[in-house]
Structures are given as structure tokens and as C-alpha cells.
């Protein structure tokens, strides 16, 4: 009960404030919330969902999965090896600083204009938080834990799978969490180019065709989508990092 109140409290207050403040709005680009909500119902019908939201979600999932796997794999390699880190870090930093929108033409060159391109754009953008956090997490593994693993001959995949990844997992989780919302943002950006369906495409299309309440309703939908995904993420994280949260909370709460 209390948790529900916490989850809903502030959003309800904010929405109410928005509702009241925008009630008499004359501004073309900032219509009253009532109008936005009205268009929300009209816009996001079941058809729209299957036509636009589902393809977007599929691209999002694919891109995010690629980024997660790649980010962790490369991150562990880079984090564990000083020389590899020194060699590839500037190159990675180089690509990290390049805005995905300007890279789209290059990606189109290699990946065409289909879903593959969008997945790559999403992966390209959201791999960084995972990668960076993995590198830092791996570097910060307690030296005694590493020594223990070494002393007992826990080596190779077992060392990575059973010791290094779990030890770095809290920080990797932070990266994955960041990546999730970036993935949503890039889903929109990727659908601004060479797309003919998708949530991002629809929102941009609304924006271009001056359907402003519909555009805002799309943005709200994005927010809701992000919220639901992060809820799922939290559930998964809570499960995977039960030991960690238990460890951190054990003495605090009980």
C-alpha cells in the first residue's frame, strides 16, 4: 500500500500540476493536458500498437541485447588487461563522442536502411554505459577476492563467470540501467532516418505534421514505456543482485 503510494504519489502530483497549469494554454506547441490525453486515447489504438510500437520494441530489444552482450564482453576484456585498455580506449572514446545521428550515413553504408541499421544505431549508442561501467567494475574487484580465486586455481571462464562478473555486477547493473533509457532514446533517433514505421517515426511524423497533442501523447507513451521497462529491469536486477542488496541492507534495516 505504502509502496503504491510512493510509486504513484509524485507522478500524480506532477500530472495534476501540469493539468492545471496547462488548462487554459493557448500556445500551439504546449496544448492543455486534457487535449493531449484525449488524443492519447484516440492515437494509440491496438492497430497502432501492432503497426508501430511492436516493431519498435523488437528493434529496441535486439539493439539492447547486442549492446549488453558486447558491452560486458568487451568491458571485461578491456578491464582485465591493462595493455588492451591502453590500446583501444582512445578509439572507443573517439566513437563514443561521435553523435549517432551523424554516424547513421556510415552505418547505412554497411548495414543498409533496414531494421539492421536501426539495431546497430541503438546498440552503438547504448553500449557505452555498459562498457564503461563494466570496465570500471572489473577494475574495482576486491584484490582479496581475485587472490582467492587465483590461489584456488579458479581460472579462465570460471574466474570470469563466477568471480569477476558477480563482483562487478552492481556496477554493470548501473550501466545496463543507463543503457536502457539511452536505448529508448536511440530507438527514436534511429527511426528518424529511413524508417517507415515505429514509435519514433510516428512521433517525428506527428511533429512534422504539426499534430502537437498527438506528439505529446507519443512522448508520454515513451515515458510510460521507459517506466515499464525499468520496472522489469528492477525486478530482474533485484533477482540477480539479491546477495548485493541483502548485503547492503542487512545491517541497515533488520
Amino acid at each position: 500500500m505504502k509502496r503504491v503510494a510512493y510509486v504513484l504519489g509524485l507522478p500524480v502530483v506532477l500530472f495534476a500540476a501540469w493539468y492545471l497549469l496547462s488548462a487554459g494554454s493557448e500556445s500551439f506547441y504546449a496544448p492543455p493536458l486534457s487535449k493531449i490525453l484525449e488524443s492519447f486515447g484516440k492515437t494509440w489504438t491496438l492497430d497502432r500498437f501492432t503497426a508501430d510500437v511492436v516493431p519498435s520494441l523488437l528493434r529496441l530489444t535486439a539493439g539492447y541485447a547486442v549492446a549488453a552482450v558486447l558491452g560486458v564482453a568487451v568491458g571485461v576484456t578491456v578491464g582485465l588487461n591493462r595493455w588492451v585498455r591502453a590500446t583501444v580506449e582512445p578509439v572507443l572514446e573517439f566513437f563514443r563522442a561521435v553523435p549517432p545521428p551523424v554516424l547513421v550515413p556510415v552505418i547505412i553504408l554497411f548495414a543498409g536502411i533496414g531494421d539492421g541499421m536501426k539495431v546497430i544505431v541503438i546498440a552503438f549508442g547504448c553500449v557505452w554505459p555498459v562498457l564503461l561501467n563494466t570496465v570500471e567494475g572489473v577494475r574495482a574487484v576486491d584484490s582479496i577476492q581475485i587472490d582467492t580465486a587465483r590461489a584456488y586455481g579458479i581460472s579462465g571462464p570460471a574466474r570470469i563467470g563466477r568471480v569477476i562478473l558477480p563482483a562487478a555486477s552492481p556496477q554493470i547493473a548501473a550501466g545496463l540501467r543507463q543503457a536502457l533509457s539511452i536505448a529508448i532514446i536511440l530507438m527514436v533517433i534511429s527511426e528518424m532516418f529511413a524508417a517507415s514505421n515505429g514509435l519514433g517515426f510516428t512521433i517525428v511524423q506527428f511533429q512534422r505534421s504539426f499534430a502537437i497533442p498527438e506528439m505529446w501523447s507519443g512522448i508520454i507513451l515513451l515515458g510510460l514505456l521507459g517506466f515499464v521497462l525499468s520496472l522489469l529491469f528492477r525486478l530482474a536486477e533485484g533477482r540477480a543482485l539479491r546477495w548485493y542488496h541483502g548485503l547492503r541492507e542487512a545491517q541497515r534495516r533488520s
Partner: protein
């Protein structure tokens, strides 16, 4: 056989430079149980790390069975002084003890037996599924011991392994280590601050000087091989030996460094 020859270790970090080990030379025969005592901060942990191949010495050599140690040699188990940090908090007690066995490619069935026996031996039956951080300090330390015991190592390095347990448990664990040693003919190097414990457990006791560290003295414990808490500790020879060790450590504290000036 474990040979340590003119081992030297200097920690450098920024301006600070600490010569933890100056010049250590000693050997431990295969299947021998040697206890190491020395003042706090004299370099015992450093020595153990070098022997385990976890730390590169600044000079000198460590050889195990004729081979120079450059990384952790196979069949070695170590109980770390920082027992709390050496347990993996993301694994249950059982998994912590079992993991090294998996690496040793021991069958599942045998693993289960070994884990159960080891936890039972350290008095932790019933906590298998708890996480280490749900245990008391002494219990955590015993998990670390159980992990080493279950591993059935050929070389066992223990760094103040009983520091956090009560007197009674400590006595039990001492007997456990001796039993394990006799059963498997393990080479054991055992660091302790408890002089009685060193004498009770070891075939030999090595005494280190305070930093910069050399071997100050060593005694052979000529007590009978069959020891027990009541009779051995009551033996006058036991008292004699422990007094000797105590005096040597006192001396070590007063005139540090074999060769002369300190760092």
C-alpha cells in the same frame, strides 16, 4: 619441498617505500607442518603471498617441489587473513566451499560429500544455504577454513586462520588441521599470533624478526606426534618451548632487522 631463498620484498607506492621482507631463507619439507610467528606488520602475510605466487618478490626465489613459483601452484589452498573479504558474497556458504572443487573437476557426488564433511568439521552444518554476510565473523572464518579443508590441498597456507573464533572452537580447529595434515600428508605453513598454538600445532616454529624482516630463530618442536589439547599443553616440554618462543619474539621486537639499520 618448499624452498624460500633470500626472499626480499619492497612495497613502493609514491614516496612511501616499505621493505617488508629483507632476506628470508628457509625450507619446509613436503608433508611438514611449520608454524610462523612474528610481530604484527613484520611481513608474514607478504611472505605467504609470495609463496602462493600472488605477489612477485622484489628479490630472491620461492621454489615448490623444485619448480620456481611464478603463479599459484596447483594443489595449493590458502586461508586469507582477511577472511571476510576472501569469501564471495554472491554465493551461499555451500557454493563458496564448492567452487574450488568444481575447478578441480571433482564429480558432483564427491563434491557434495566433501563440502558436507568440511562444513561439519568446522561446526557449520546447517548454514549451507546462508550467504557469508549473514554469518558472524567467526563463522565466516570457519567457512574459509572449510573451503581450504574440502579442497584437500597438497600445500596449505593459513594466515591467522583462527583469529576470530572462541577458545573451544579454536582447539577443535587446531585438531582438525592436525588430523587433515596427518591424513593427507599436506605441507602446511601456518601463521599465528598465539604462541601456544604455534607450539601445539607445528613440527617446527619459525620466528621472524620485526621489519625489515629476517628469520630470527627457529625451533623444532620435539613433542610426540600424537598430541591432544589436555596432555600436550600440560607437558613441561611444551611450556619450555613456548617460553623460548616468547622470549625470542620479545627479542625480535627490540632489535629489528638482522643486518642492521631499518628502512
Amino acid at each position: 619441498m618448499l624452498e624460500v631463498s633470500s626472499l626480499n620484498k619492497v612495497y613502493r607506492s609514491g614516496a612511501r617505500e616499505v621493505e617488508a621482507l629483507r632476506d628470508l631463507t628457509f625450507t619446509v619439507d613436503s608433508g611438514e607442518l611449520v608454524c610462523l610467528v612474528g610481530p604484527s606488520g613484520c611481513g608474514k602475510t607478504t611472505l605467504l603471498r609470495c609463496i602462493a605466487g600472488l605477489l612477485e618478490p622484489s628479490g630472491g626465489k620461492v621454489r615448490l617441489d623444485g619448480r620456481e613459483v611464478s603463479g599459484p601452484p596447483p594443489g595449493l589452498a590458502m586461508v586469507f587473513q582477511e577472511y571476510g573479504r576472501s569469501l564471495f558474497p554472491w554465493m551461499s556458504v555451500r557454493d563458496n566451499v564448492e567452487l574450488p572443487l568444481k575447478q578441480k573437476k571433482i564429480t558432483r557426488h564427491r563434491r557434495a560429500t566433501l563440502v558436507e564433511q568440511a562444513l561439519d568439521a568446522v561446526g557449520l552444518a546447517g548454514t549451507e544455504s546462508a550467504y557469508p554476510w549473514q554469518l558472524s565473523g567467526g563463522m565466516q572464518q570457519r567457512v574459509a577454513i572449510a573451503r581450504a579443508v574440502a579442497y584437500e590441498p597438497s600445500t596449505l597456507l593459513m594466515d591467522e586462520p583462527f583469529a576470530a573464533v572462541d577458545a573451544q572452537t579454536r582447539a577443535d580447529l587446531e585438531d582438525l588441521v592436525r588430523a587433515l595434515w596427518q591424513r593427507l600428508e599436506v605441507t602446511v605453513l601456518f601463521i599465528t599470533h598465539d604462541i601456544d598454538e604455534a607450539v601445539y600445532l607445528g613440527q617446527r616454529v619459525l620466528m621472524l624478526s620485526s621489519s625489515p624482516t629476517v628469520v630470527q630463530d627457529e625451533i623444532t618442536v620435539d613433542l610426540p606426534a600424537a598430541r591432544d589439547q589436555l596432555h600436550t599443553r600440560a607437558d613441561p616440554r611444551f611450556t619450555e618451548l613456548r617460553t623460548h618462543v616468547y622470549e625470542q619474539i620479545q627479542a625480535a621486537k627490540l632489535q629489528p632487522g638482522g643486518a642492521g639499520a631499518s628502512s
